[in-house]
Symmetry: C2
Subunit: 725 residues, 2 copies
């Protein structure tokens, strides 16, 4: 059955390659369009090169450290993970920079929305398919090389001792290394890309719109290409590797939990068999493999569709719903095949599965449904079709201060509904299939990730397409088509953000539980006791961490944006004729400034996220780190939802005013100025802070999961306790 | 020794009465001043009357429910608590409305800062002394009536059965009732007052400053008296009853913990004696009684001082430091007297006191120091003397959006330092004296609360004094003196807010631990296991609660402010000559609108805080509520620190610009406009959201503490489990 995984991975990657080539073969349009798109592509490539240099240096260091302190297997798995995640991000970004101009051109040639949507979605699907395909390919490699090849799957062959004499549970350690490799890439892509995209955007807007009074995406603005590059490196590469990480995290934590359940079962003599363990390990991999195939079908369905509906949003939703629905159908089959051989009473007694063979499917289905509902909630709060954003737009009539205040209130209130969904999901999935069920809910939510990433990536591609249309001064009708695509992209982005934090939160919680299993004694119940002062202190300090991290990110964006502002001002002053459109601005310098600024500013927050759990673990021990993890996860979930929804609502509130729906307000009115302030405030929140927090909590969990194997036994706090009594 | 408590209470209340009379006998100044101050006083009284009507209706309902479901003793204690807290708030507000005009007049007559400060501080000390005195008086009554008189202190007389056949631990239940009475008053005072003060302030500013371009506190603005009333009902009465609640909560949780330790000890036969239990129960009461006496000395020292220093801030700090220092000195003595009779090894074995008789003192001292340090951190982040606020002011040069962004970043980054202090405080106090030590740290932090409340109340009195000086068109020199006092008041307010959330957090955590003790089995270790899905779901949903609550509060303020804006606009239009100063505005209607608006808007958030833990407890059981408590406490701490510091920094950043320290910016510049936007956004954050969250977490904990006695045994989740499981 394990071959299903490689079949699905190859199928997805093949489909991705096909879509890549299909898109690349399409015509680019006029010479001007090709030129602009070329500039964006060169800029994006340059940034990724800079970034990957830093990234792979860090990874090399971490890999060496891991090989020494833990096991060399884990270090190799880490490298595999980082290559997979790095490739997915790189290829996805690459196709996005090819697809953007071809979307514009298709709009120009056909003047048909449906056809244009298809090109954008085909481009986006490359990213989605790469995420699913690369994640599974890497997982298959790790499973086959280490699990089967080196016999690590057989837990009874006892633990592995490394060169320092520390012992490890081999396969879970290797798997954690794989997850960590994906995490590290995601961390740098999210943080670096997040800072880049908003620094360029804010820098372009602050001088262009506010000082020089030229519209967005105007070719006279030297920062405009950098702004478009930002969409590709932040919203495409960052998002892709982030969700790949959630995907891998959810699957890995399921497998790790299965291992620990088995060890515990051995200790307690509940009668769990090796065969049952293998089923538990295989189930999530097979489930997501079928999910990936379902996503391929959903994507193909949209691409082959003859009669596109008038609202692109419906078509895109259709692809996602087909993928999710088919995942559920396939899931029933795989659950039946894998678990129906066991008696229901045995499953209940040994594994805590209350509903027989269908238990794990129910847990996964809860995840699928929760993922869809959380996306809908995000849409409710951020789309101008609903009351909250309309009220926010209305508040703009009363000035900037009330716009901000109202947006804050909206964002804060929006935290409750998704959290209730998560909470209910956790309770029900646990009731049905125990702790393994919680991991399966996370896996379920992520099983159709390929479809959601494809839809998400469609957004920035369309955004870029609009920019290219504007910059190459095409027919306004073309711009109208790309604008329609772009506005749909805004909604899908909000849904995607809700989904990213929801699935990230579940994945992080599953990883956290794996973490706890990794250091708790198998012979006792699994406990992270909040009443232990170490844990309590950890929760409090952990809660402050995402606030510190967010504050640092906001400052990083502002700092990088200021450098951009200075450069744009300089060019306006020093290049004569630039504002009259007679001279060409120096786009390249702006791109370089963004790149350097983002790389410089991403280092400290990223290292903070990696270092804090390790340092705290070695100084204060595993209970403290457990507290840190739960505190930071909770606060990160809230800030990310708040930031995503407040930011989305400010953005769409501004667009609502621009559409002229509110009497007495419109482009250029005072209300519009107030709405622009709201949008500018929301930009770094929704596109830097929120997305970075998704990965922040996961990287803290994976780093802790890897390091706890060492610091559970060797930490200063224990050492003091042993000395002093 | 228990008589020390009543002696301290009587001493404090007598001192308060003396100061009250002394202030009231001072001359009011000109007829105009007396008139304005009269209007403020009438407005404040009217609001308190409205509010107390709602409040005592709720309290009557809660008391009846408690008498039926728990015990009548607890209901009576609840009434005592609510009367004590209500009185303290009422008297403190009353004297503030007398003191304001007398401060102005003293400035007018003497032109001496030191003399003026003394009047303001004497007024403030009445609130401070009432907080300490009333809290201890009520505690003494409860202790003597129920503890000694009805024999509830003797735990071995077994539990009490109420009319429904439910059984309770009598004294801890009674004490929890007392704490709940204080909580309920604090809740309504904080929320009602918080909405009132900012609705009036924002309403006055939005029309006055922005539309009519008249300065703050201008008598032509109809909302200006309401604005001044707001300072008294929000910053005086609200703050006073909030800190009284923390004070009572910290003491009660210490006593309740002692009880449970005793019960556990009986079960485990560790050899704890009844006498030891009584020492543990008495210790916090005696400690705070001596702390109250220390505060009286500190207050008297400042009032009797001949040579005041030039910087009022130093004098005020002096009073606090004397109070804190003497509390520590008295504390050593009381610790020695009470605990030196026990052998160090016995204390360690039975109670977990690692350092002999001085253990509890060390824990309390940690609390005292932590309280002072947390205040200093708040000052660092919000005072224009330090870099963060100066950088924020600098950012105003770049427009409103970057001002907001920078302020958000500042507030977010400021969460870490106080949380580290709290975390370290918890770990160390636990190491020294176990869980009882954590409660003692909370008690220590609050033991000099009388001094901090006195200094805090000085702020709004000075603010009002400045308003009166402006409105009665006194000599600019008078205004200059009151401005000096007011600017010191801004700093003390920021310190007070830091202290309020820090002490509130510790008190809430101590209450939460009491809550856990109340439903956990004595024969096992105390556990709130995060890996239980019920707890985990509770933590997630609990984390979203303060965000929901904050969002609702912000909207409530905006809604009430809008009503005020409409009224002010109406008056400007309908009363001819109002803007020329020829006609008198209708202040009374504005006050009524604020009052009604605040009362209407405070109901839902307040009831949410009270109802959520009870409803969740009866539906989902005590583990879920335990999760809710920890999740909401953590997130509330963060939001409150964020809101307080960001709001304070925006306010002082604006003042820094107004002072002309930044070249190219000043009153009326574009940078100033941006800073005003920041200040307006920060206002509801720092004066409504932050303060309300302090009490939000405590009321949830006390409500849960009372209700858990019932829902631990009787809840739907258990009932389902019994039926289906």
């Amino acid at each position: 059955m394990i071959y299903l995984v490689i079949i699905a991975a190859v199928l997805a990657l093949g489909f991705a390659a096909f879509n890549f080539m299909t898109v690349k073969r399409m015509p680019e349009g006029t010479k001007e369009m090709a030129e602009i798109s070329g500039a964006i592509r060169i800029g994006a490539n340059a940034f990724i090169r800079y970034e990957y240099k830093v990234l792979y240096t860090v990874i090399a260091i971490v890999a060496v450290l891991m090989a020494v302190i833990t096991t060399w297997h884990a270090a190799v798995a880490l490298l595999i993970g980082s290559v997979m995640s790095g490739c997915a991000g790189f290829v996805g970004m690459k196709i996005a920079t090819y697809a953007n101009v071809r979307v514009t051109n298709r709009a120009r040639e056909t003047k048909d929305i449906g056809e244009t949507v298809k090109v954008a979605f085909r481009g986006g699907s490359v990213m989605g398919l790469c995420v699913g395909g690369c994640a599974l390919l890497g997982l298959f490699l790790v499973y086959v090389i280490f699990g089967i090849g080196m016999g690590q799957l057989d837990i009874t062959t006892a633990s592995y001792k490394n060169m320092l004499g520390l012992s490890f549970c081999p396969f879970t350690m290797t798997l954690s290394g794989y997850a960590l490799g994906c995490s590290l890439v995601a961390m740098f892509n999210r943080v670096g890309g997040g800072i880049y995209t908003k620094a360029a955007d804010m820098g372009a807007d602050l001088v262009g719109k506010t000082e020089a009074h030229i519209p967005e995406d105007d070719p006279r603005n030297p920062a405009t290409i950098a702004d478009n590059v930002g969409d590709n490196v932040g919203d495409v590469a960052g998002l892709g590797s982030d969700l790949l990480e959630s995907f891998v995290g959810a699957i890995s934590s399921g497998i790790i939990l299965a291992y620990h359940m088995f060890s515990k079962s051995l200790a307690e003599n509940t009668g769990m068999t090796n065969e049952m363990l293998k089923t538990l390990i295989l189930f999530p991999m097979i489930f997501v493999a079928l999910g990936l195939i379902a996503c391929c079908i959903g994507i193909a369905f949209l691409l082959l569709k003859k009669q596109m509906s008038k609202d692109p949003h419906k078509d895109l939703n259709g692809a996602t719903y087909i993928a999710a629905g088919m995942t559920l159908v396939f899931g029933v089959i795989v659950s039946y095949v894998m678990f129906h051989g066991y008696e229901a009473s045995a499953l209940n007694r040994i594994l805590g599965f209350k509903c027989g063979w269908i238990s794990t499917w129910i847990a996964a289905a809860i995840g699928v449904i929760a993922g869809v509902v959380i996306g809908m909630i995000a849409e409710y709060y951020t789309s101008a079709d609903f009351q909250p954003t309309r009220n926010l737009a209305q508040a703009s009539l009363e000035g900037a201060a009330l716009t901000i205040t109202q947006g804050m209130a909206l964002g804060m209130k929006s935290c409750m509904a998704p959290c209730v969904i998560l909470g209910v999901g956790i309770i029900v999935s646990y009731q049905v299939s125990g702790m393994y069920g919680v991991a399966m809910a996370a896996m379920g939510m992520l099983s159709f990730v390929t479809a959601t990433v494809s839809v998400d990536t469609y957004g920035p591609i369309s955004d870029n397409a609009g920019g290219i249309a504007e910059m190459s001064k095409l027919d306004p009708e073309v711009r109208k088509i790309t604008d329609t695509l772009d506005s749909v992209g805004n909604t899908t982005a909000a849904i995607g953000k809700g989904f990213a934090i929801g699935s990230g939160a579940l994945a992080a919680l599953a990883l956290m539980i794996s973490y706890l299993y990794s250091y708790n004694d198998f012979s006792t119940a699994l406990i992270l006791n909040l009443v232990e002062p170490m844990t309590l202190a950890g929760v409090i300090i952990g809660g402050a961490l995402p606030f510190l991290f967010s504050g640092m990110l906001i400052e990083a964006v502002a700092k990088a944006a200021r450098k951009m502002v200075d450069e744009v001002r300089r060019q306006f002053k020093e290049i004569p004729g630039i504002l009259e459109g007679k001279a060409k601005p120096d786009y390249k310098t702006c791109i370089e400034i963004s790149s350097k600024g983002a790389i410089a500013e991403m280092k400290i927050p990223s290292l903070l996220a990696i270092a804090v759990p390790v340092v705290c673990g070695f100084v204060l021990g595993p209970e403290f780190v457990g507290g840190i993890l739960i505190g930071s996860t909770i606060c990160s979930i809230m800030i990310a939802i708040y930031a995503g929804n407040a930011g989305g609502a400010w953005d769409n509130g501004k667009k609502y005013i621009e559409s002229g729906e509110i009497p007495g307000a419109g482009k250029g009115s005072e209300a519009h100025d107030a709405a622009v302030v709201g949008d500018t405030v929301g930009d770094p929140l929704k596109d830097t802070v929120g997305p970075c927090l998704d990965i922040f909590i996961k990287i803290m969990s994976t780093v802790s999961l890897v390091a706890v194997a060492v610091f559970a036994e060797h930490n200063l706090a224990d050492w003091f306790a042993r000395i002093f009594g």
